[in-house]
């Protein structure tokens, strides 16, 4: 009996690992952020954004609690429609290269592009398309002080080993724009990685973050909004 234990043990483990290896080759899980698809296609193919997802966590308000008077958007801050017109298509897997310059002449490096970073103008284009979901990855207090209008408040901690209920309500094909405080903050990148891991294909990171969005005069709101229940 004893002399068969070790060979049988090894065979069982080897069989399991072999099957796991084959399975991982057939349907691997994503571990890195893919360069997001063409923003134009993403907007075209995505369903219209619902203002309040059906499966909200307990305690989440049905409607965002808008405390500030809504649009603060001056007309001149709206990027030209060239950003989403078919005249600037891209099949390279990055957001439209012909997109209009961002508010404040924001430019992004190819490395940032490959990670899914987009400019403020592109983010606003997605916002206006009414198909994109914005995710504020900052902490609760920052979110409540002010966030992109209708953005979900889902901090990075909500992704640690679980899938946030608010994210579950988002269609896989919908464009998602994550943001934090802009510049070198990691939260939005990490949340984007997690979303990619969960199967979302059109995940973007608003490089300028909330400070840039606010400075450009784009729509914001304050208050509890729609946040992931803790």
């Amino acid at each position: 009996m004893k002399c068969t234990f070790i060979p049988q043990f090894i065979i069982l483990v080897a069989l399991g690992l072999s099957a796991g290896f084959v399975h991982s080759k057939l349907a691997p899980v994503k571990t890195t952020v893919d360069a997001p698809g063409n923003m134009l296609d993403a907007v075209k193919n995505a369903p219209k954004r619902e203002p309040s997802p059906g499966s909200k966590p307990t305690g989440a308000p049905t409607k965002p609690d808008v405390k500030t008077p809504e649009p603060v958007v001056p007309d001149q801050a709206v990027p030209p429609p060239a950003a989403i017109t078919p005249s600037a298509p891209s099949n390279t897997g990055t957001p439209s290269p012909g997109a209009a310059p961002a508010a404040g002449d924001e430019t992004l490096t190819p490395a940032q592009r490959s990670k899914g970073h987009i400019t403020l103008a592109e983010a606003y284009t997605l916002f206006k398309s009414d198909t994109a979901y914005f995710i504020d990855t900052r902490k609760k207090s920052d979110y409540e002080e002010g966030h992109v209008k209708d953005a979900f408040g889902i901090p990075l901690s909500a992704f640690l080993g679980k899938s946030p209920k608010l994210v579950d309500a988002i269609d896989r094909s919908s464009p998602i724009v994550c943001y934090c405080i802009g510049g070198n903050c990691d939260e939005s990148d990490e949340v984007a990685k997690n979303l990619n891991l969960m199967g979302y294909k059109n995940v973007y990171i608003m490089h300028a973050g909330f400070p840039g969005w606010k400075a450009a005069g784009y729509p914001i709101q304050t208050g509890p909004g729609i946040q992931e229940a803790e």
Binding site: M1, T4, F5, Q8, F9, I11, L12, V13, L15, G16, L17, A19, G20, F21, H23, S24, A27, P28, V29, K30, T31, T32, S157, F159, L160, G161, K162, S163, N194, L197, M198, G199
Partner: protein, 190 residues
């Protein structure tokens, strides 16, 4: 009236070797429900990790959150952990239920449980706020967050696995059907 235990002890294939009240014989009987419970539980866990919608992604997020393997540094190892662990659970679980290679299967599950306990302890010590992912999206025994409850749960399961591995005779098992055949195979004479 002869009890099943006594009959088993008196039979030629019994493990009890004459001491019918011995602990090892009781263990052999206890091992039967333990085998089905543990095998079923590990099959359920593996099924939830691999075959429910977004199961692998959810388990991958748990593995990532444990911060034991960095998917950026060791992508192959990460994929193997995400897919290999549930498949090992499947093979060991099926073997336990069938009673085939029972001691080895119990040994594999005990090994997995020791690794799980070590990982959970490290998560608690590092104060990581994460879900277990032990049963995919389900948390049948403990809450969502990894905690002491998960350690207790795994220690109970480990005790069951060790009981199975230490049972000398496996009742209702393919091992006990195949063993006499092997033992009575006629010797090949040259």
């Amino acid at each position: 009236m002869d009890t099943p235990l006594k009959i088993a002890c008196q039979s030629g294939t019994s493990c009890c070797g004459g001491s019918c009240a011995s602990k090892t014989c009781v263990l052999s009987y206890l091992a039967v429900p333990f085998r089905f419970a543990l095998g079923g539980l590990f099959l359920l866990a593996a099924f939830n990790k691999l075959f429910v919608e977004r199961g692998p992604q959810h388990f991958a997020a748990s593995v990532k959150a444990f911060k034991a393997i960095d998917p950026d540094q060791a992508p192959m190892l990460f994929q193997l952990a995400v897919f290999g662990t549930p498949w090992v659970e499947i093979f060991a679980g099926v073997a336990l239920i069938l009673g085939l290679w029972t001691r080895a299967a119990a040994g594999v599950i005990a090994g997995l449980l020791v690794v799980f306990i070590a990982l959970i302890v490290s998560v608690i010590l590092r104060d990581l706020n994460t879900e277990c992912g032990c049963f995919g999206k389900l948390s049948p025994f403990c809450g969502d967050k990894v905690g002491v409850c998960n350690i207790v749960q795994n220690i109970v399961l480990l005790a069951m696995a060790l009981a199975i591995a230490n049972a000398r005779t496996q009742f209702f098992a393919l091992d006990s059907i195949l063993a006499p055949i092997k033992n009575h195979r006629p010797a090949v004479r040259g």
